[in-house]
C-alpha cells in the first residue's frame, strides 16, 4: 500500500493552489494598467484624509477570546483520538473524558461568570 501517494496528491493540490495566484497575478500584471498616484496610494478612510495611525489598539476582548480559543481548541486534540478509539475502549474511558470535558465546561462557566464572553464594543 503506497500510502505516500495520498500525500503526493496533497502536495500537488497545495502546489496548484499556490500556482494559481502566481499565474493569475503574473498574467494580470501584463494585462492591467499601472498608473500609481499619491492619492491612489493613500489609505482609504471613506474619502477623508486618514487620521492617526492605521494600526489602532484593538479591544482587549479579542485577546480574551483568543485565549479561550486556544484552550478549547486544544481540547479537541484529546477529543479526536478519544473519539476514534472510543469503540475499542472501556466504560472508564467515557468517565475519564466526561471528567475532562466537565473540567473544561467549568472553565467555560468561569469565563461566563467573569463576563469574559460578554462583548461590549466593536
Amino acid at each position: 500500500m503506497e500510502y505516500t501517494n495520498n500525500y503526493v496528491i496533497v502536495a500537488i493540490f497545495i502546489g496548484l493552489g499556490i500556482l494559481l495566484p502566481v499565474v493569475a497575478l503574473t498574467v494580470g500584471r501584463w494585462l492591467r494598467p499601472s498608473k500609481p498616484t499619491e492619492i491612489k496610494q493613500s489609505t482609504y478612510e471613506s474619502g477623508n484624509e486618514p487620521v492617526g495611525v492605521g494600526q489602532v489598539r484593538f479591544n482587549i476582548r479579542y485577546y480574551l477570546f483568543a485565549l479561550m480559543f486556544v484552550i478549547f481548541d486544544v481540547e479537541t486534540v484529546f477529543l479526536y483520538p478519544w473519539a476514534v478509539a472510543y469503540q475499542q475502549l472501556g466504560l472508564f474511558v467515557l468517565v475519564e473524558m466526561l471528567i475532562f470535558v466537565a473540567l473544561l465546561l467549568i472553565g467555560l462557566i468561569y469565563a461566563w461568570k467573569k463576563k469574559v464572553l460578554k462583548w461590549n464594543s466593536i
Binding site: 475499542q88 475502549l89 472508564f92 474511558v93 467549568i106 468561569y110
Partner: protein, 517 residues
C-alpha cells in the same frame, strides 16, 4: 491496533490509592464554583478555610496510606510501592514523604494567609486560595510519577498555576512583571526539560522511567553522547526550577514581585517538587549507569551536579550580600539552599535521602517562618526592605526572637534544624568522600552569616524613632511560632524525623521504579 490494548485504564480500586490527589481535585473544582456563585459580600476567607481543610484531609490520606503501606510491607520491602496506570503513577514512600512536605507547607501557607491578606493586595482572594490546590496537586503528581508524561504534566500543572499565583496582584506592576519573567524563564526551562526528555524517549522508545533505565543500561555504548546531552538539558531545566545557580536569575525578581505567601509557596513547595523529580529521574535513569568500563560516566554526571551545587552556594550567598530587600535576599538564600540540597543528590551515600528530606523539612519551616515574619513586618512598614526590620525587637519582641531562630537556622548555627540538616549533608558527602563540596558548603555558610545577621542587626541594634508595637494577625503569629518551634525541635531532636524517614524509606524499593508488577 495493539498499542491501544496495552493501555491499562484506571480501575475503580485505584481511586482509593489516589484519594489524596482526588481530594484536592474535587476541592479545587468545588471551591472555584463556590467562589463564582457565592455572593460578593461574603468574605472569601471562607474559601481559605475550606482549602485548608481539604489540604489537611489530603495530608491525612497520605499519612494513613503511608502508615498502612509501612505496616503491610514485609521485611523484603516487596510490597512497598503501588503502581497505577501502567506504571506511570506510583505511590511509594519517596512520594509520600514529599507529599507530606508539600501538603504541610501548603497548609502552613494557607493558614498564614487567612485574615492577613489584604483586599488591596490580592483582589481575588478566593482565587488565590483555591489556586494553591492545583499547584500542590501538580507537585504531588511530580513526586509520584513514574513516567515522563505524567511527570511533565505534573510539573506544568505546578508551574502554570504558580505563574498565575505570582501575578495575583493584578494591579501591581511588580507582580505583573515578575509573573511575566517567571513565565518566560519558566517556560524556557520547561522546554529544556522537555527537550532532554525527548532524547530519553528517543533512546529507549518508552517514556516509562524503568523502561528507559533498562534500555539505557543495555545500550549504553550506542548512546553515550545522547545520554550526556539529555542529562545536561534536563539538568539545566531542573536547575531552573529549583533556582540553582547559574539558572537562578529569575528567583530574586519573582520572589520580590510575588505576594509574600506565594513567595513562600515558590520557595518551599515548588522548589521541593523540583527536587522530587530531580531525585527520581537522576536516580532512576542516569545514576544506575556506569556498569563496568563506563563508571566514569556516572562520575561525570554526579560531578556536574556537585559543581552546580557549589556554584549555587557560591553565587547565591555572595549575591545575597548586596541585597537590601528581604524577599530578594531570601530568594538568593534559596539559591544557596538549593545548592545545599543538591549535594546529597550528587553524592552517593547511604543516607542521602534522609539527609535531603531532613534538610528540606527544616528549610520548609525556616523559610515559611521567615516569610511570615516578613509579612508581619511589611504589613506595618509597607515595604520589604531589610531596613524595615529596624528595631523590631522593641516593637514585637517575640516575633524578633522567632526571626532570630530562623536566621540562626538559615545561617547554620547549632540547635536549629538548618544546622542539623547541613551537618547531615556534610557527613553524607564525607561518607562519599566528596570532601571539597563540604568545604564549599561550610565556607559559603560563613559568607551567609553576614547577610543573615544583617537582619538580626536591624532588629536588635538599630532603632526607629517611635517604638509603637506592631499588630500581628493571629494566624501569622501562630504560623511564626509553629515554624520557630519546629525549627528548634528539628535542631534538638533530629532523630524523630530521620527515624521516620528511615523507617519507611528504602532506596531500592521506593526510589527506583521496577519493571513489571
Amino acid at each position: 491496533m495493539s498499542p491501544i490494548s496495552n493501555i491499562q485504564p484506571l480501575q475503580w480500586a485505584d481511586l482509593a490509592t489516589l484519594a489524596p490527589e482526588l481530594t484536592l481535585v474535587i476541592a479545587a473544582i468545588l471551591l472555584s464554583l463556590l467562589d463564582l456563585f457565592l455572593p460578593r459580600k461574603i468574605n472569601r476567607d471562607v474559601l481559605g478555610v475550606l482549602s485548608l481543610v481539604s489540604v489537611l484531609v489530603s495530608l491525612a490520606f497520605v499519612i494513613s496510606k503511608m502508615v498502612s503501606m509501612g505496616a503491610s510491607a514485609d521485611p523484603a520491602f516487596t510490597a512497598h510501592a503501588i503502581q497505577l496506570l501502567g506504571q506511570s503513577y506510583r505511590v511509594d514512600d519517596f512520594a509520600n514523604v514529599f507529599k507530606i512536605i508539600f501538603l504541610s507547607g501548603t497548609a502552613l501557607i494557607l493558614f498564614m494567609s487567612l485574615g492577613s491578606i489584604r483586599e488591596d493586595e490580592i483582589q481575588h482572594k478566593g482565587e488565590y486560595y483555591y489556586l494553591l490546590l492545583p499547584a500542590v496537586l501538580g507537585a504531588m503528581i511530580m513526586a509520584s510519577s513514574g513516567d515522563l508524561i505524567t511527570l511533565y504534566v505534573g510539573l506544568e500543572l505546578l508551574s502554570i498555576t504558580s505563574y498565575i499565583l505570582v501575578g495575583m496582584k493584578k494591579n501591581d506592576l511588580k507582580s505583573n512583571e515578575s509573573a511575566f519573567k517567571y513565565i518566560v524563564l519558566g517556560s524556557i526551562s520547561s522546554a529544556f526539560i522537555l527537550y532532554g526528555m525527548s532524547f530519553l524517549y528517543g533512546m529507549s522508545g518508552t517514556t516509562n522511567l524503568a523502561g528507559i533505565a533498562q534500555m539505557l543500561s543495555q545500550h549504553l555504548v550506542d548512546f553515550k553522547v545522547l545520554i550526556y546531552v539529555s542529562f545536561f538539558l534536563m539538568f539545566a531545566g531542573f536547575a531552573f526550577k529549583v533556582a540553582a545557580a547559574p539558572f537562578h536569575v529569575w528567583a530574586p525578581d519573582v520572589y520580590q514581585g510575588a505576594p509574600t505567601p506565594v513567595t513562600a509557596f515558590l520557595a518551599v513547595v515548588s522548589k521541593a517538587a523540583g527536587f522530587a523529580i530531580l531525585f527520581r529521574i537522576f536516580y532512576n535513569v542516569f545514576f544506575p549507569l556506569g556498569s563496568e568500563e563506563y563508571t566514569y560516566m556516572r562520575g561525570d554526571l554526579t560531578l556536574s551536579v556537585l559543581i552546580v551545587a557549589a556554584l549555587a552556594m557560591l553565587i547565591g550567598n555572595t549575591a545575597a550580600l548586596r541585597q537590601r530587600n528581604v524577599k530578594r535576599l531570601l530568594a538568593l538564600s534559596g539559591v544557596a539552599n538549593a545548592g545545599y540540597l543538591l549535594v546529597p543528590i550528587g553524592s552517593f551515600n547511604l543516607s542521602n535521602f534522609s539527609e535531603f528530606g531532613f534538610y528540606l523539612i527544616a528549610y520548609l519551616f525556616m523559610n515559611i517562618g521567615a516569610l511570615a515574619v516578613v509579612m508581619i513586618v511589611s504589613r506595618s512598614s509597607g515595604n520589604d526592605e531589610v531596613s524595615s526590620f529596624a528595631g523590631l525587637y522593641y516593637r514585637a519582641p517575640f516575633t524578633a526572637v522567632a526571626m532570630t531562630i530562623f536566621i540562626l537556622s538559615f545561617a547554620g548555627i547549632p540547635l536549629t534544624g538548618g544546622f542539623m540538616g547541613k551537618l547531615f549533608i556534610a557527613l553524607g558527602a564525607a561518607q562519599a568522600k566528596d570532601y571539597w563540596i563540604i568545604a564549599v558548603m561550610i565556607i559559603t555558610s560563613v559568607i551567609s552569616l553576614y547577610y543573615y545577621f544583617g537582619i538580626a542587626r536591624q532588629m536588635y541594634m538599630r532603632s526607629i524613632g517611635e517604638a509603637f508595637p506592631i499588630r500581628i494577625p493571629a494566624p501569622l503569629g501562630i504560623t511564626v511560632w509553629i515554624c520557630a518551634i519546629a525549627t528548634l525541635f528539628l535542631g534538638v531532636m533530629p532523630n524523630v524525623i530521620v527515624d521516620f524517614i528511615n523507617h519507611y524509606f528504602s532506596i531500592s524499593f521506593d526510589l527506583f521504579i521496577q519493571m513489571g508488577s
